[in-house]
């Protein structure tokens, strides 16, 4: 007889049920927590608290943690293949997810060298520009690609030092909820990634209008959802990141970053 797993939300480094006590059955059998707006707000608070520490980690340390996540994901290949329905497509999605984590792990200490600049201003000043994480980032996993679609946005956001609240794919949340177990064993500090399952219709408006969320990635959203999100995002000038799902590049990391420019006079 199996010892079955209770699927839980990943919130502030802990596996918890929805505070609402609700659940839903996306595939008709397994109970999955139906996260509430309160869960989201708790996740934002946890993320905000975790942000300064994560952003202050050295680039190399963040890279090692992302690489560790790749190791853990690869080690659980069999489990994820099963969750993704098996077959060639599942295999490819898993391989590409591992590859994305490895690829972005190697970017943490290179992005500033690609996007940062020393600016030759017309005066006696030393002036440089560096990328810094934008802060609390919301990611909406695409329904059609529940693992790869999420990992491909999560990795670049974390790479730059952001903290994340991810909405699992509503119709197939198990891969995302299991990814939480990968992250929990990869030295990702508590609150840096929070994964919430539930109904998009219920949760998206809260995510989009939350005043302490700095950016929202909408690659996994349809046109109507994007419009509604963009309207709410205006409430606190959220960055709405719309690069396509296929995008895998330092430009995507940079989309989750702010550029900071520092001036100092030169003199004796």
């Amino acid at each position: 007889m199996d010892v079955r797993k209770t699927y839980k939300l990943f919130l502030n480094g802990e596996f918890v049920r929805s505070e609402s006590g609700r659940a839903y059955r996306p595939d008709g059998s397994v109970n999955v927590p139906r996260g509430s707006r309160k869960d989201l707000r708790d996740a934002v608070r946890a993320a905000r608290t975790a942000f300064p520490g994560w952003a202050a980690r050295t680039a190399m340390n963040r890279g090692q943690i992302l690489y560790r996540a790749a190791e853990m994901l690869d080690g659980r290949a069999a489990q994820f293949l099963e969750l993704l329905g098996g077959g060639v497509r599942a295999r490819r999605a898993l391989d590409q997810s591992v590859e994305a984590l490895v690829w972005y792990a190697g970017w943490t200490d290179k992005l500033p060298q690609i996007t940062g600049t020393v600016n030759p201003v017309a005066g006696p000043y030393f002036n440089f520009t560096i990328p810094e994480p934008t802060g609390v980032v919301a990611i909406v996993a695409p329904e059609e690609s529940p693992l790869l679609g999420l990992v491909r946005r999560l990795a670049p956001a974390l790479c730059g030092g952001n903290v994340v609240i991810a909405l699992a794919a509503e119709s197939s949340p198990l891969a995302a909820l299991t990814l939480a177990e990968v992250l929990a064993t990869s030295d990702v500090p508590a609150g840096v990634v929070n994964i919430i399952s539930g109904q998009r219709k219920e949760l998206l408006p809260t995510l989009a209008s939350h005043m302490d969320v700095n950016a929202i990635d909408v690659a996994g959203c349809n046109g109507n959802e994007v419009k509604a999100i963009e309207e709410s995002a205006a409430g606190n000038i959220k960055r709405v990141i719309k690069l396509t799902q296929r995008e895998q590049s330092p430009h995507l990391i940079a989309a989750f970053m702010e550029m900071k420019t520092v001036w100092h006079p030169i003199g004796v």
Binding site: I114, T115, T117, N119, P120, V121, A122, G123, Y125, N127, T129, T134, G135, N214, G223, N224, V226, K227, A228, I229, E230, E231, A233, A234, G235, N236, I237, R239, S249, H251, E258, M259, K260, T261, V262, W263, H264, P265
Partner: protein, 490 residues
């Protein structure tokens, strides 16, 4: 022995007795009325409506400009759309040459532009002459050079222009904001429809002449004048693919909401409430100059103004004494006078906003200091002001005043300074004054702001990216980063 306020004022009068030194205006030709710049020439507005633009220092009407309506904006966008095909396919080195030409023409007509800017907007001539106009020319010169080097800016990507850019700019640095908007847009191969602010349209009208003088192909730059309604028409026009706005956070939010779901690209450069942080080891005299420059430059009509002074408690008293003494030497008056430090407030509406916020500061319990200062009878004026005894919750510590009003707060530890500095929804700029290098970098790392000035303030350069964190907007202007909002990367 401390010098009393009265003695300071007396001293100021003795030491700083200046003869009037007004800039000549006889070489300036401001036309009695202006049309719209559409398709390479000045045309009459379909709306047939006009509004006056006045000199805020005298309240006299300088000219009447057209108020563009829906038909006018549509014409401008269509002209830009038509020009886009050829402009975006023009050889990049030619695009560069047009921009170099524009830069040179700005330099050639710099005195005229400076005077027009000062008459229309109220800023001191020494600022328009030494800051606004040279920086505008430099901005065109910088981006001119990028026009034929774009592929070097985006490794592994092919940059392509987006299309017609709709750009709406504020009244605090009219020509400079125009340059920040138009130069990168054109360099990347886009065409533009620009709406200047309703209180400061005249330097944009001179710029329209410069476009004609440069023989810029018709429709590449179009300028439509009007108020908020016209601006809204520009950004919401369906053929405008890229929107760039500089102005208040309030209007920025309206724009972001208005274009939701349209797929238009957007950059916003919005308000600020910058902290200017002075540590006890800072060179105080330099810091005082930096504080003055930070908040009284351009009458405080600066989105990145250092409007919150955070001073370490141990030096609060001597610093404030020096600062107050320095304030009493600032010369307020005729913006055209070369010795004027503080010019006119840009408009009556802005003056009323400043007055309202200053009243709220007094009511909430802050202590107001203003040096003895005679305000001219006509025009809009506000004396340089500073508030002490300010709590973080006061409106004057939270809201952007956009006037010559400084709120002074104190701190004890570097952590407290960071905490207070970041305790705002804004994040455009910040200042740090200290002699300790490691502390500068420690602070710079923690301040959530797009620009950090260390032992200096309010410096700008075309090579230096500028823009905000949080509710101060997104996107950068200046530097290689300033190209990104104007390209599609494939």
């Amino acid at each position: 022995m401390a010098i009393t306020k009265k003695q300071t004022a007396e001293l100021a009068k003795q030491v700083f007795e200046y003869a009037p030194a007004p800039e000549a205006i006889d070489h300036i030709k401001i036309q009695p009325r202006y049309g719209l710049f559409i398709g390479g020439r000045m045309v009459d507005a379909h709306s047939k409506k006009r509004f006056p633009t006045i000199n805020p220092a005298t309240e006299k009407t300088l000219s009447e400009v057209a108020e563009a309506d829906e038909v006018d904006v549509d014409r401008a966008v269509k002209a830009a759309g038509k020009a886009f095909d050829s402009w975006s396919h023009l050889s990049a080195s030619r695009r560069a040459r047009y921009l170099f030409r524009i830069s040179r023409l700005i330099q050639e007509r710099s005195r005229e532009l400076a005077v027009v800017e000062t008459m229309d907007g109220g800023k001191p001539i020494k600022e328009s002459r030494d800051v606004d106009i040279p920086l505008s020319a430099a901005h065109f010169f910088y981006y001119a050079g990028w026009a034929d080097k774009l592929e070097w800016a985006f490794p592994n990507r092919k940059p392509r222009p987006i299309g017609v850019a709709g750009q709406v700019i504020p009244w605090n640095f009219p020509l400079l904001m125009l340059a920040w908007k138009i130069a990168p847009a054109l360099a990347a191969g886009n065409t533009v429809v620009l709406k200047p602010a309703e209180t400061t349209p005249l330097s944009a009208m001179v710029f329209a002449e410069i476009c004609m003088q440069a023989e810029l192909p018709p429709g590449v730059v179009n300028i439509v004048t009007g108020a908020g309604k016209t601006g809204f028409l520009v950004v919401s026009h369906p053929h405008v693919k890229k929107v760039a706005f500089t102005g208040s956070t309030e209007v920025g939010k309206l724009i972001q909401r208005a274009i939701a779901g349209t797929g238009k690209r957007l950059t916003l450069e919005l308000g600020g409430k910058a902290a200017n942080i002075v540590f006890e080891d800072a060179p105080l005299d330099q810091a005082v100059e930096g504080i003055v420059n930070g908040i009284y430059f351009n009458q405080g009509h600066v989105c990145c103004a250092g409007s919150r002074l955070l001073v370490q408690e141990s030096i609060a008293e001597p610093l404030l004494e020096k600062l107050k003494r320095r304030l009493s030497t600032l010369r307020l008056g005729d913006p055209l006078d070369k010795n004027t430090d503080i010019g006119a407030i840009n408009s009556r509406a802005q003056l009323e906003k400043i007055q309202g916020l200053v009243e709220s500061g007094v009511e909430e319990g802050a202590e107001l200091y203003q040096p003895e200062c005679v305000l001219p009878e006509r025009g809009f004026w506000f004396p340089p002001s500073l508030f002490t005894n300010v709590s973080q919750s006061y409106r004057i510590a939270r809201e952007e005043i956009f006037g010559p009003v400084l709120s002074v707060l104190t701190f004890r530890t570097p952590n407290e300074a960071v905490e207070k500095a970041n305790n705002t929804p804004y994040g455009l700029s910040a200042g740090v004054w200290t002699d300790k290098g490691s502390r500068i970098l420690w602070m710079a790392e923690r301040l959530r702001a797009g620009v950090v000035w260390a032992n200096t303030f309010n410096r700008f350069d075309p090579t230096s990216p500028f823009g905000g964190y949080k509710e101060s907007g997104f996107g950068r202007e200046g530097g290689v980063h300033g190209l990104l909002p104007y390209v599609e990367l494939t």
